[in-house]
Symmetry: C2
Subunit: 353 residues, 2 copies
């Protein structure tokens, strides 16, 4: 007998396959002693249900809800995880799936709360979310816990949640990588480095903080004499960013390099005075369209990427695995900190995992 099937278990335990199925999926209506006997045989035979037969038979449609910021366009970071999610769903022909989109305005916590209610009312089997509004999300997750709805987190983790899966990047470490690159590139006695934080006042800035910490700690350890200045450009309305940035960037010649700890480095390029020489090195995050254009132009030197497409893709696969195999998972997938330059951008641009 090759790999044992439900029939083998049934025969050996002296029950019908219906009963075996009941204990395998824990849907009750089995006497305790029968259950124990079946469990023993399963153990003994090392029986593993054939998920493909199972899915063929049940004809179940797995409904995956996503609770993420609106993927505005290709210049918006959140466009990319959604792309990965859709791609994963498209490539899956093993199961029937259905996507429930619940997108919220990233600058509006009220909208988040509205959309989480909307999603709940759709009764998804599994959910993919990102902790943009951590506190509000936690409330949502405990609702999911109560309903035994499985969920995966992307981008940032909530370790005290019961997520089946998390994938994202070590933000502190990515700051160190940025610092290390600049340390390699800068001459022996460099001018100061500018850390330019451009962020909306509505969301918190834990990611920016952690990247910054990594950046600063690297220099503290490796080259303590390096001066690092921090400028915070806090905006409520994106339109005023140029005005807010101007006083800082006017003096760009004072700096040997500028580090932008989020996806906004294109805004620095856009608002730098037009003179061409002696520009500071510029290092930022994320392969959003506008950043890629400037990288190709040589106006941005390095971009660190966190494989957002891959994050979405992996989250779908993980949540589906949990749903199909009906077993718990508590997996963390650490995304590499990809260093992208003009010369290696090409292959990163194509969709890949």
């Amino acid at each position: 007998m090759n790999t044992p099937g439900i029939k083998d278990v049934a025969k050996k335990a002296n029950v019908s396959i219906g009963t075996v199925d009941r204990v395998v999926h824990n849907r009750g209506q089995v006497s305790e002693k029968t259950k124990q006997r079946v469990l023993e045989v399963i153990e003994e035979l090392n029986y593993v249900p054939n998920t493909i037969a199972s899915s063929l038979s049940s004809q179940k449609i797995y409904r995956i809800g996503i609770l993420l910021p609106t993927p505005v366009d290709i210049n918006n970071y959140w466009h990319y995880p959604v792309e990965g999610i859709k791609r994963a769903l498209r490539e899956i022909n093993t199961f029937n799936t259905e996507l429930i989109e619940s997108f919220y305005d990233i600058n509006d916590p009220d909208d988040f709360n509205k959309k989480k209610e909307a999603l709940i009312s759709e009764n998804p089997d599994g959910v993919i979310a990102a902790p943009v509004y951590a506190k509000e999300l936690k409330a949502f997750l405990s609702v999911l816990n109560n309903k035994s709805i499985k969920y995966a987190l992307i981008d940032s983790d909530l370790e005290d949640s019961k997520r089946s899966f998390f994938t994202g990047q070590n933000t502190y470490q990515s700051g160190r990588v940025a610092a290390q690159l600049l340390h390699y590139c800068l001459p022996a006695n460099p001018k100061p480095i500018l850390v330019c934080r451009i962020y909306s006042s509505i969301q918190g800035t834990p990611t920016i903080h952690q990247r910054e910490n990594g950046f600063i700690e690297f220099f503290k350890a490796v080259n303590p004499s390096q001066r690092i200045y921090i400028e915070s450009i806090e905006y409520q309305d994106e339109e005023v960013i140029p005005t807010l940035l101007q006083p800082t960037l006017e003096n760009y010649e004072k700096y040997s390099a500028i580090f932008v700890p989020n996806s906004k480095s294109h805004l620095v390029v856009k608002n730098l005075p037009v003179s061409s020489l002696n520009k500071p090195l510029l290092i930022g995050y994320d392969l959003i369209e506008q950043n890629k254009v400037y990288l190709k132009d040589g106006k941005i030197d390095f971009l660190l990427s966190q494989r957002p497409i891959s994050q979405g893709f992996k989250a779908v696969n993980a949540i589906l695995k949990v749903l199909v195999e009906k077993k718990e998972l508590n997996l963390v997938d650490d995304i590499p900190i990809d260093i992208i330059t003009k010369e290696n951008l090409s292959a990163y641009e194509h969709l890949n995992l």
Copy 2:
């Protein structure tokens, strides 16, 4: 009617499902006019066979042969694609698969020829190979063509072959990336750069050549005054490498940087004089164990990686897709040129796609 099944096609074409199946899989025994009628209905209904039902029903075991250099140990590049292949096979629970390993001594073309015969005699359904011995491999591939056995290529391409899939890195471009990194790191008037080619005289060196070309052309375009010296260490027996390297590395202080266009950069570290200061920057390829150790130590500055685990993984998925869906594929997957430093090594070390 949701997605149409073979029954829907049969009914509409006034034939039995057996007949539909015959035309879908082209196994003849159908009159031309019946065939045409069925084909029309398939077109009309947009019928796509349900591969999972198909695989459940047929109980077919897909036999995948691999014809690759022996994966000696974790200090050997070829260890990693094989790891990816095995991992992919392990993760697949949708189909039954069987791996046929046919490993050859990378320094022995005769052994290659022996092992390719051995593999043929196993009658695999699909094959994964790498063009280490391009000429000899081509002969093998035409045998596969005759037998209608599908194959995927990894590492380097043979564009004129009928491979269903190729994945690998743009070697020329990776040389440019190495050059760009050094260009960023070196001071205004640097000392010369040493390109250190360490290679076995038995295999060809097309990969090394292309990386070198990319490297040199980058500097020609961006900084023509940069002097670049090339040293060729051609060995027949690995044991003599230290002796061959010594005269070159004795004078390491003459160089601002050393570029090793293959996975041998650890040998440079090992044979560098013990003095500690003023070491040239060192940039190499591949996250084999010994290189990773030196990267962590700060003795290697940059490693370029070509995701060998991922290459193996993807090749399995591609070849299986071709076999299961029984349709031709001619896909090229361009592997990103990952830049690895001490600070971002960690997440790359873990298995990921």
